[in-house]
Symmetry: C2
Subunit: 409 residues, 2 copies
């Protein structure tokens, strides 16, 4: 693991066990040395429901296709995450490797193949050496226990500089349910699920269709509202497992506790998404972009993403330069309705430009002060309608170049 | 002018005068020290026709709006280019400044305001100090002469590290017509005309509608097929002036010499576009991306642009890493029809991946050799149809970060 990101949280959070979830991490030896765990096995109690979202890449890995095929079943019993090798773009060999890992997990756990889910992350283009997982899965199956979440968060990582975890609770039918999530991802983080894996586990009892709908909503404002470099991986997957051990059944949004559960889920997803951005390759600033006054929420989103992905905006923030001209440029190129002469731009709480020009008596000092911090807010008001969006991103630094001109992803 | 790009041509080309075109460069003092010329005045003979393309930014500069309003007239007598200040996002003050510069030029040259064209390039958000142009325009009008093209190419530049010029000839109705172009632009070069200015002058006699149609075609494969960082400026403009002094009139594509003229125009535009990429901020490699086998040309274009703008592809090339996995990633994220298992990727002339996996017996040595050079070719075959596209871009290096985390654009 490389030097810890300067934006990393001080500590990995305290994460409670989740009833019905057992985990083991082990070493398969896909790519990393023996001291580095690279295979994570999670076993879920019978009756666990599942929801998921996967990359929109049209060249996905066989593991992504594997998950897509099984998500419609709505139930899950196991998850195997391989790290160090994404098995992406490996043709028939890669598909066979995914099948071999899944089959071996089903065998050692005595499960139906349709309830085994797979992920792989790491180098593209090298078929996963599936046979290395065979013994590892056997020993993992014997080592299953109440979760060491941090060990799992470390094992699923690749270029991450810190393990990522989050938790929340909600009261459902008078009982307190727990949600715990872990995630990985640093570079290649962009909307539609870039190189990231996220797994959320809860002991709540949620019908599959409802679980999927809630995950779609939470995903929209979390994993789909972050970007590091605009690139999108072939392997991104977020899976949500509900073991059903606690609380009354949530069938729809009118079920008791549905709102509370949805809110807790959103909280976990947003926490993990922010941590992923905080681990953006070379990141030295965490940037929040708020757009309001757009013609629609979707229009606001396109504008926010255009600003968030602009290399010129990102380098300006790296240089602590209140360069609102570059923000205007990025709004202009988004191709969305915008009126130059109604546009207002804020850094932190200070409006620097309004009605298409710099504000009278603009004082750069408080803005410069804000830009010296590690958490930067850019506000954009279009003055056209009620559409709003929020995006999280990071700055673009020499660190990004150093990492990516060397590392073979 | 910063240190010359390592990708710059050895010399500024020999550019002939163009009949009917007179030029002067002078110092207005918008931003640069006195030794640096920052105002370029071009005067065209009566009867000159004009065509133009401008940025698709929805927050354009007043100079861009000024040109848009006048292009439909189809004729031109003068061009004023101010450099050091783009006058973009300056509200009513900026619009007034543009009007003042245009009016002054019309006054000193005794021209109709509708035939005076304007550009400005440089810092955003500071109204152009138009009064500084007043004396400068007067002295420029007295200094007009047969062109020193290199002086003009230098005067219109901002962050450029070398002046950009190109020429071609064509036979039209038995006479040889000349085309000469100059351009500026380094960062913020993306399709739809990023921070770039280009001016092409010819003594050919071309009807305005035909001139516009030919410019649109030439623009598509040149200035609109390049990208440096995916950002788009508020000020981009390409103008084409035809003084009509030589050759028979070209009214349509069936006029004598129309094909030859269109071909020469394309040659000049592509030459200038390549030079702009060769001056990409921090560029150390010139990258050509060829996509074929896509479902349509437009689909091929979207895929080529996705690869050309991918920070992970661009850093891999900077690192001389034959990382075809990142190319696959960028194809996958483009959202266009693609079949992972039919995809082939080439570096130089070597196919590294075919049918969705690395080729049997792949030998990295010749690919590594190609990547050590300064001109890199990436080929992508989708195997789906006949659609093709070509894009030019450059790598993403520490130099880009250094330039853009400091320079206030």
């Amino acid at each position: 693991m490389s030097e810890r990101s300067p934006l990393a949280p001080a500590l990995f959070p305290e994460l409670p066990p989740v009833e019905g979830v057992r985990i083991a991490v082990t070493h398969a030896g896909y790519r990393y040395p023996e001291s580095r765990m690279d295979l994570t096995l999670v076993v879920l109690d019978e009756g666990t429901t599942i929801a998921g979202v996967t990359t929109k890449s049209l060249c996905p890995s066989p593991e992504v296709e594997w998950c897509r095929e099984r998500l419609s079943g709505g139930t899950a019993r196991a998850l195997v995450v391989s790290s160090g090798n994404s098995n992406a773009f490996t043709g028939k060999k890669g598909a066979a490797a995914a099948h071999a890992v899944g089959s071996r997990a089903a065998e050692v756990l005595n499960l139906n193949l349709d309830e085994v889910f797979l992920s792989a992350t790491g180098v593209i283009g090298v078929p996963l050496p599936a046979e290395r997982a065979f013994d590892a899965l056997g020993s993992a199956a014997e080592a299953l226990g109440s979760a060491d979440w941090q060990a799992a968060a470390l094992a699923i990582g690749t270029t991450d500089t810190f393990p990522k975890g989050a938790t929340a609770q909600a009261v459902v039918g008078g009982e307190t349910v727990t949600l715990v999530g872990i995630a990985k991802g640093s570079g290649m983080i962009a909307p539609d699920m870039a190189t990231m894996l996220g797994y959320i586990f809860t002991d709540a009892n949620v019908a599959p269709a409802m679980l999927q709908s809630m995950l779609n909503d939470a995903n929209a404002t979390s994993f789909n509202s972050i970007t590091v470099d605009g690139d999108t991986s072939t392997s991104d997957t977020v899976l949500l497992f509900a073991t059903g051990r606690t609380g009354s059944r949530i069938e729809g949004m009118d079920s008791p506790g549905a709102d509370a559960f949805a809110s807790a889920l959103r909280q976990v997803c947003e926490d993990l998404a922010r941590q992923i951005v905080r681990d953006g390759e070379g990141a030295s600033k965490f940037i929040t972009i708020n757009v309001d006054g757009a013609e629609s929420d979707e229009s606001a989103r396109v504008i926010a993403l255009s600003v968030a992905n602009s290399p010129l905006v990102k380098t300006a923030i790296a240089g602590e330069d209140a360069n609102w001209g570059r923000v205007v440029m990025a709004v202009g190129k988004a191709g969305q309705p915008a009126d130059r002469d109604r546009l207002a731009i804020r850094f932190g709480t200070v409006t620097v430009a309004r009605d298409g020009e710099v504000v009278d008596g603009y004082d750069e000092a408080p803005v410069a002060q804000h830009l010296k911090g590690s958490d930067i807010d850019i506000g954009i008001s279009l003055g056209l309608g009620d559409g709003r969006a929020r995006f999280w991103t990071c700055d673009l630094t020499h660190g990004y170049i150093t990492i990516n001109a060397d590392y073979r992803s």
